[in-house]
Amino acid sequence: MSELIVSPGPHIKNKADSVGFEMRDVNLALIPALGMGLYYFGVNALVVILSGIISALVFEVIMVRIRKRKLQRQDLGSAGLTGLLLAFCVSSATPWWAMAGGTFIAIVVAKHAFGGLGFNIFNPALLGRAFMLASWPVIMTTWLKPLDAITTATPLGLLKEKAISTDLLTMLTGNHAGSIGETCAIALLIGALYLIWRRTIDLRISLSYIATVVVMALIFRQDVTFHLLAGGLILGAFYMATDPVTSPVTKPGRWVFGFGCGFITMIIRLYGGYPEGVCYSILIMNAVTPLLDRYLQGRIFGRKIWNTV
């Protein structure tokens, strides 16, 4: 008779769920948008996406080596996802070296400098994008027309600078200038439905984010559907703001997080210097996530008041 294993309970674990599965789910969900991005922006987009993914993987492997950790499959899944998401929120005119600069900030500074996956405060892809926008403002605001490679402005830019609005069908199909992965709302929503079905993302954040944008658009007498479909809102609300590591874990915290993202996005869109505010709004809310977790814990069973620490 061999020795018995004595280990703490519970003695069964949910096999249908693991970190690797979650990364795989998000990567899978981005495939429709990836396809549309490649269709509209062609070889340019392919170069941006590949340089994003490859440079992210290279930095990840180097950082894991430097930090003397064992490289696990989900590390590559997560780094690849970061590279892909960064490529999704930049223009197809971005050169490969700028992508490498962005992924350096995303993987090395935003993620590993803070302790690696699970410990980062800011969404790595968005911090990478913010760095690129600050470093190469011209590159980052040079937009190409789909299927054509002529420079033009995005719908939000057209609205802000020339007061030209774009029609609904163009917005839905994504046949307009913009970041590689953000233009086709339909493709992004298909992926989002998959994530909702797989219960990979928390809808509280997405719903309160989108609802806040709707309410703000109504208050400021803006075109509601335009604001929903323009820029990176759908990409941000379903794929970026819902990044579990950088968003609150508490239920009330998630509602407020989504509200904050929506509020700041609209303030930037309406009053800010940039036409789009999704990236900065999520980064700002990332920074207050620890506070939201702390003060919006909600009520413990059997207590009357909310617990705050």
């Binding site: 294993i5 280990s7 703490p8 519970p10 003695h11 970190v19 410990f119 239920k251 413990i300 059997g302």
Partner: protein, 442 residues
């Protein structure tokens, strides 16, 4: 007059998980008597409370049902010989928890002679004398539970037939096969507590039990209003606080007891034992144990003498069909404890013996928390298990206390859902123990 209704919607609490129940392994197996053990090891502490002093010495002849241990403390439960034979030793023996406890070892004479019990008319006294404890697992002395403080009137008696732990089916079989005893026990307890209304909570995965209760209650005479409540099949539906919340909508205050919301909860097995003792005068010397496992040759529901070793019961069920026994759990897979040896005895609170082979016993290695918040979503006590576990790991126990560690019911649902396979529940249990230790030393 009996009033009886079955509700067609299922009640429940907020949070919880839906694990793989695997109850079909043993749920169809009628209760059968385990063979008479060659010897029994009866710990003098099988309950929550004070340990008993032995009343016998080595060499003494004892009969089944004879009292062999007793304590003068109020919160304690008497211990009885479960077979007839000779007391071989009174010495510390290994318990299912891995700790040593002073135990009475009795070698069987093969006759299984019982004492001539005197039937005690005072119900509460009879329960105390019989050493009855909560048979759902926590083993809290039943006479204490049935004597609530005078200033706390009890409005409802709740009967816990949820049996939400995966694999376990002993309560299921008791409710099917000993329905009358359960109902009688309920009636006796209700009379003691002077409650009018009794709720019997049963999970929806036991429709046969619900139908059976419906049939049997029509012939059953009682002064109390009995109501069957169909509960959603969800873990930890049978947790005391979750059961009370699901049925009455009331929340037991943080740090408080069910009395404070006018409720007492009893397990169905405990009710059956109360009726049995009142009928025959025999104390608690045997119980139903589910012996199960995916690779166990023949899972069974067995009526087992207290003190029988796990080994004998696993052998009686034919051992495993492939591989080697690598882990044996006393109780269910969620809250049960992995035993250090197969020689540990069945005690009053042993509801199941779950046998696992290598591939089931090895659990994945924990990784870093991704803050996905699944543990927060499902925590039935509305805690933040990821933060509690983090602070516990860093030994910041004051922080754990502020985050409500002491409100944790240790159900293990957080560890179950964790995508990173972290041992959240274990870390929180550790923090609880540390907080309590620090309070005592202060």
């Amino acid at each position: 007059m009996l009033k009886f209704t079955v509700m067609f919607w299922e009640k429940t609490f907020t949070g919880g998980i839906h694990p793989d129940y695997s109850k079909e392994l043993s749920s169809g197996k009628p209760i059968e008597n385990a063979p008479l053990p060659r010897s029994v090891t009866i710990p003098l502490i099988m309950h929550t409370g004070a340990i008993c002093d032995p009343l016998v010495k080595p060499g003494d002849l004892v009969k089944a049902g004879q009292k062999i241990g007793e304590s003068s403390k109020y919160i304690s439960a008497a211990v009885h010989a479960s077979i007839s034979g000779t007391v071989k030793a009174i010495e510390p023996r290994l318990c299912f928890t891995g700790a040593l406890a002073l135990s009475v070892v009795i070698e069987s004479d093969g006759k299984n002679e019982a004492i001539m019990p005197a039937i005690e008319p005072d119900v509460l006294k009879a329960i105390k004398e019989a050493g009855i404890v909560g048979m759902g697992g926590a083993a809290f002395p039943t006479h204490v539970k049935l004597s609530p403080p005078k200033d706390k009137p009890i409005e409802y008696l709740l009967i816990n037939g949820a049996e939400c732990e995966p694999f376990l089916t002993c309560d299921h079989r008791i409710m099917l096969e000993e329905t009358e005893l359960v109902l009688e026990g309920i009636s006796l307890a209700a009379k003691l507590l002077k409650v009018e209304k009794v709720f019997i909570g049963i999970e929806g995965n036991k429709q046969d039990v619900i139908d059976n209760f419906k049939l049997q209650t029509s012939n059953f005479k009682t002064d109390h209003k009995l109501q069957i409540v169909k509960l959603e099949t969800k873990y930890p539906q049978g947790g005391e606080k979750q059961l009370i919340k699901a049925i009455t909508g009331r929340e037991v205050p943080s740090g408080g007891l069910p009395y404070e919301v006018g409720v007492v909860v009893l397990n169905v097995g405990t009710c059956a034992q109360i009726a049995k003792t009142l009928h025959t005068g025999m104390p608690l010397i045997e119980r139903v144990v589910t012996v199960t496992g995916k690779y166990l040759k023949e899972p069974k529901n067995l009526r087992v003498k207290i003190g029988t070793s796990f080994k004998e019961l696993i052998e009686f069920c034919g051992g495993v069909t492939q591989g080697e026994i690598k882990k044996v759990i006393s109780g269910g897979p969620m809250m049960g404890i992995a035993v250090p040896s197969l020689d540990v005895p069945v005690v009053k609170g042993t509801s199941g013996i779950l046998v696992m082979i290598e591939e089931e016993a090895r659990l994945p290695e924990p990784e870093y928390c991704l803050r996905c918040g699944k543990c927060v979503d499902i925590c039935p006590q509305y805690l933040l298990p990821n933060y509690l576990a983090d602070y516990s790991e860093k030994e910041k126990f004051e922080k754990c206390e502020k985050f409500g560690a002491l409100d944790c019911i240790e159900c293990g649902a957080c560890s179950y859902v964790c995508a990173s396979k972290r041992n959240l529940a274990q870390l929180i249990k550790l923090a609880k123990a540390e907080i309590i230790k620090q309070r005592i030393t202060k």
